[in-house]
């Protein structure tokens, strides 16, 4: 159930599982300094990305609880990998999910992150029957925060200096949307 066995299509994007041929696309994304700025990670070269991709490809298929679904985001017109996103969820009584990801800077500013997040919410609420889906961003990452707000997540918390990352104390913003709020958006689309 909880797989992207069938790729999902949005107006401009295909959301699908990772393939071995995605190594160059992933490297193009995560070798960049700016993509890693608000992540825990440092820029990685192709060799380093190979093990990251292998982990995505070889993850256990049958883990139910606290699973992570890596999502390769591909621009359909050009078949180029433009984003690495994920939906993580718990199948316990709490029914919580988390969405997040990185979009290649060459493709930012076109609403592609919003398009991706909207589809991830659809999967989380509709297919996985989750109750609440949240996102976590570095407090300085205003582009990601804005994209999550556009699909209806609301700020729940701004944690101040809750983590020490890359030599400095950083803030974390937590945003979330609950199931009923998402259902209401299905009646009255906002974007």
């Amino acid at each position: 159930m909880a797989q992207l066995n069938t790729p999902r299509q949005t107006s401009r994007l295909t959301l699908r599982e990772y393939e071995a041929s995605d190594l160059d696309g992933l490297t193009s994304l995560y070798s960049r300094e700016d993509v890693n700025r608000y992540l825990y990670s440092e820029p990685k070269n192709k060799d380093q990305m190979r093990s990251v991709l292998e982990a995505k490809l070889n993850r256990p298929r049958e883990i139910i609880d606290k699973n992570v679904m890596p999502v390769a985001v591909v621009l359909r017109d050009t078949n180029r990998l433009v984003g690495d996103f994920m939906l993580r969820w718990t199948a316990d009584q709490h029914r919580q999910g988390e969405i997040g990801g990185s979009l290649h800077p060459d493709f930012q500013g076109q609403g592609l992150a919003v398009e991706t997040y909207a589809e991830l919410l659809e999967i989380g609420f509709s297919d996985f029957n989750l109750h609440r889906i949240f996102g976590r961003c570095d407090g300085r990452n205003s582009a990601s925060i804005r994209a999550l707000e556009k699909v209806g997540l609301q700020r729940e918390a701004h944690l101040i200096e809750n983590e020490f990352v890359k030599g400095e104390w950083t803030d974390e913003v937590v945003l979330a949307i609950r199931r009923n709020q998402w259902l209401a958006r299905q009646i009255a689309p906002q974007n």
Binding site: N180, Q181, A184, R185, I187
Partner: protein, 182 residues
Amino acid sequence: MPTNHGHYDAVAGDFERVLLGVAIDQWVLPTPCDEWTTRQLSCHVIETHRRALSMLHRSPFHEVSESDDVVEAWRAVSGRVLEARDDPALASRLVSGMGRDQNFASLVEGLLTFDTLCHNWDLARATEQDETLNALAVAYAHEALEPVSDALRGSGNYGPALEPAPGASAQTRFLNFTGRHV
């Protein structure tokens, strides 16, 4: 995985109770929804359900006819909605034409719940019945709809929100939010 049907069952049951409480001579009374009589408002709720079912089954939609018994028509349509929602194959089927494309279960848990809840109050008010709505459903709907307030009003679903009086109950605050004078 646990499932969640939201508040539809309770809201549908309450709507049936208020329909049963409408006296025979009350079906022509005006309602808080200015353009509708009590019968027309009830038919609107029934027809919203019928529309959802016709989209689900890709079958023709029929308005409630003059000769139909409103209570019977409601029982039939809400029963069919519940049946479909509890059938996993139908519940997960995508329905187009009522807001965004969404599966039938979401339509029941969202639109049909919100719509039936609000009109329950309208009908109770118009026929001088107990106006108390299910408190959990009120909280659920208010919390859900508040973030999409502008879009709801833009689409003509709700009138302008009213400022609740100080100390107003949660139900009154919700009804004021939907533009209803309480």
